[in-house]
Symmetry: C2
Subunit: 362 residues, 2 copies
């Protein structure tokens, strides 16, 4: 069973998304299920989910439902994975969802040893502004700190009785006290919106976070008599690959990793060294064409840098035909990255000034 | 190492207190260390502790220190073990300690599945009144519910990072998510009084609760840079034996167990069937004398029913000499138990009316 375990606190690679779907019993994501799917949904970056139909139905019939995500204030920067989560949250925000974004300060205290004071400072100064700059609509978002939400911690303690250590280890690979407390608290986060009104909810995450979802769904089944929570829905996006071609950008491989925000010179230098689908020589590439499906630059376009499907298609075709060479393409990627980073940095500056006005619930 | 493990959630027996002192590296309790030792201290029922001198010094030099204990609202009744804890708390209350008594509602939710609402109701209706009836001075006590004390839960999450699963299992024998959360929360309880002012604190408990103390002391050592907490002191009392002679009264053996309060007829019936140090025949007993050191009735006198040392000594001598026979002695024990239960029940009724006026801190 060990091969089936994904560690949400690690940075393992998932080399075969098809296998993941099968092993974890996920639904293959079908963008036709949702109205006006966003870029990530349209392009198969969102690739799987659980109980998606109840969310699609809620959107269709304008029934109440919620979307929720957390931010870890222990991180120094945000990353492209966060960006995808935020874009998916924004999709549901735009389609009627009650929206919750929590600062996982108790989790970062438990698993990273960050004090609550430090976590609060970082979240207000950087993470929340960055989330807003990346697309979160602050006016339609309910924010809270785990440490101030008694409903969440109370659920966490109650849930702890519902999971054995062996079950925890079967899902997470290994257990330690801090992971257990973090996991129970996440389950509390994901379910507390239903304390006031029973309703469907969706958690958009990277596939590495699925263990949290599975534990929460087990807990839902085991607290049916008392709470009768709606079974949580989830939606999984693929990782943004490291520029060297390994499957997930990670701080442990700084040369393949672009942080948000990052100095554009540094980012462009990394782009220039990125793995592409180029051939050994210019002549060969002009003759045979490039291989965009193997190119990390193209993956960045697809996931993040190019919104217009037609533009993306043109780049694909020009690469395939040998018309667009890698050097030129990397120059273009650098320009697109520059636009993106500048917009992000300005957005963070602007959002920082709004943080005082946000409504934090307790 | 397994033999060294005592499970605070189980009801194992400790057959050799001397061995326990050695195995766990405890200090043998010396009643001369403390001014006007109470009955339990004088009679060796309190048998061990950790870092007792810093508490004795605080009493002597009138420095600030604290005593703390919790109550588990999942229990239907209280028991003689609780009574000993309360008597020891009262001793420190009378000797200048800041006194904290907490309702372990998060722990009872985590380990027993009792809802917070139910826990609150039980604590106010029964456990707190019973604690007051057993001797706790409510005017000198700071009460709180774990679920309302954010400082405690915040410490619990922070502490989780300081203990590994293996260490937890080495101390507790086995781990599960609810025990882990309960243990971290107890460490939070025991240490939060030092957030405002660093000072010594003592936890009077049954020896079965020592794992919680050890984990908390490990955490203190590992959070030295940040908090520099005083190392916790603890004080251990022996168990009140089951009336059948096994070492600890337990609900799992109802015939040997007297609850507080319990219907006096039921209690006396149990006393009449109690194991004594009597001989096979009246003649033999008159000739050889009884064996009070083997008698559960005498142990009850010593621990709970007879305050006056001279009276206790007289019973011991009369038994030893063969003058006092078991039947007569059991009648007397029943009368003493009746006095005690009546006083307890009246005390609970009276204290119930005071509960509204207690100051619960948050």
């Amino acid at each position: 069973m060990a091969e089936k375990i994904i560690d949400p606190w690690g940075s393992e690679l998932v080399s075969d998304y098809t296998k993941i779907v099968k092993d974890f019993g996920l639904e293959v994501f079908d963008s036709k299920l949702f109205p006006n799917p966003n870029r990530l949904m349209r392009r198969g970056v969102v690739f799987a989910g659980r109980d998606l139909k109840q969310i699609a139905d809620a959107i269709k019939s304008k029934k109440r439902y919620y979307v929720l995500s957390g931010l870890m204030p222990s991180a120094e920067k945000v990353h492209f994975g966060n960006k995808m989560v935020i874009e998916n949250i924004r999709y549901f925000q735009d389609h009627g969802a009650d929206t919750y974004v929590l600062v996982a300060d108790l989790e970062s205290a438990a698993t990273r040893g960050i004090s609550l004071e430090e976590a609060r400072k970082r979240a207000l100064d950087f993470h929340i502004p960055a989330y807003i700059a990346l697309g979160l609509d602050p006016k339609k978002t309910i924010f809270y700190f785990q440490s101030e939400n008694l409903k969440v911690t109370h659920l966490a303690y109650e849930f702890a009785k519902k999971i054995t250590l062996s079950e925890f280890e079967a899902v997470y690979g290994k257990a330690d006290p801090s992971k257990i407390m973090a996991s129970m608290t996440q389950a509390g986060d994901m379910l507390f919106p239903q304390l006031d009104e029973r309703m469907p909810g969706i958690i958009p995450v990277g596939i590495d976070q699925d263990p949290h979802i599975r534990i929460a769904r087990d807990i839902i089944r085991r607290t049916k008599t008392k709470y009768n929570f709606f079974l949580l829905s989830s939606m999984y996006h693929k990782f943004t690959p490291s520029l060297d071609g390994s499957l997930k950008m990670s701080k442990s491989k700084p040369e393949g990793n672009i942080e948000l925000p990052e100095d554009i010179k540094s980012a462009c230098n990394k782009l220039k060294r990125a793995l592409t689908g180029g051939r050994d020589t210019v002549e060969e590439q002009k003759k045979k064409g490039g291989q965009p499906e193997k190119c990390m630059i193209f993956e960045l376009y697809k996931q993040h840098l190019i919104e217009d499907d037609k533009e993306l298609q043109k780049i694909y075709d020009d690469c395939k035909s040998g018309k667009l060479l890698c050097g030129e393409d990397k120059e273009y990627a650098c320009r697109k990255m520059k636009e993106f980073m500048e917009k992000l940095e300005k957005g963070i500056e602007k959002a920082r000034k709004q943080v005082d006005k946000l409504a934090f619930v307790k």
